[in-house]
Symmetry: C2
Subunit: 174 residues, 2 copies
């Protein structure tokens, strides 16, 4: 593929670029997300309880997706209950409030990198390093809705995920 020369619009007004594939101050990225989570929860009249907060912290440790049982193991280490519902309930809460996403392809969960912003996420899953990034699924979703409409189908929720290689792993693979 030739180098892109025209500036592609990486940052539409309504959605900031995903930091997952770029070098970034991750501590800041995570603490910011946590702070935004507090306000999202408060705004929704919901409580970011210790388990929920801890689960979000765990997911925020890096830009990968964790299975519910891995989250559970971590919770148990921290003294929380170690039965599956403990993890599933916290994850469900986070997903419902847009603070985390479920990656269907992996049966796993990842922290949302755009909590609070309205966004239609597509997930980019790197096969090299397992990093998961969010891309703007707006145009893809519109195309999907159009294809569906041609068959008389009305889309309510969509799952748009891609497996492939992130910039770093693509370079490594040479």
């Amino acid at each position: 593929m030739p180098a892109r020369h025209a500036p592609t619009h990486q940052t539409p007004a309504h959605q900031s670029a995903d930091p997952a594939f770029a070098a970034h101050d991750h501590a800041h990225c995570a603490s910011g997300a946590l702070a935004r989570a507090e306000s999202v929860a408060t705004a929704a009249g919901a409580r970011l309880t210790p388990v929920r907060r801890r689960v979000l912290e765990i997911l925020l440790e890096d830009h990968r997706a964790l299975g519910a049982y891995e989250v559970l193991r971590r919770l148990a280490d921290d003294g929380f209950g170690n039965q599956p519902p403990v993890a599933y309930r916290a994850l469900e809460f986070l997903v419902e409030h847009g603070l985390a996403h479920r990656i269907q392809r992996l049966n796993a969960f990842t922290a949302c990198t755009h909590a609070g912003e309205p966004h239609a996420p597509a997930f980019l899953i790197c096969e090299g390093c397992a990093t998961v990034a969010e891309a703007d699924a707006g145009p893809a979703r519109a195309a999907l809705e159009a294809a569906a409409a041609a068959l008389g189908f009305v889309v309510e929720r969509s799952t748009i995920e891609a497996l492939g290689l992130c910039p770093a792993c693509r370079k490594d693979a040479t």
Copy 2:
């Protein structure tokens, strides 16, 4: 959205419209798919053995997605082995050869309605009747690739699925 008046191109040259949501001669639809499966397998130098053929027949009974264990139950009834790998292996074979698809959202499998044709399928899953249809994911996939490229990510495989209502269930829901 206003009514569409320009004819939308429902049947691009390379892909016939999916019959799942339309009234159609299903026996013919299924037997045709089975016949095409034979030639696809032969062309690939693979064998559509009795288990594999039977699994495809089971999937072809209607336009829904079946879990591996439901397929397995049906196989056992027919005298085939009743351990999970029997079903999973046959399903894997069918998926590899493009004769069936895995629906991530459902952890289930559906017969391909376009076997042999080159196609990029998006799956439309009706929440009313559980029917699964394939739509052309070409444009959606292109949009996804563009969004990914903006982050330097190269897509290898994509999952594009929608939950919603099919024409019939939409009418029923009033």
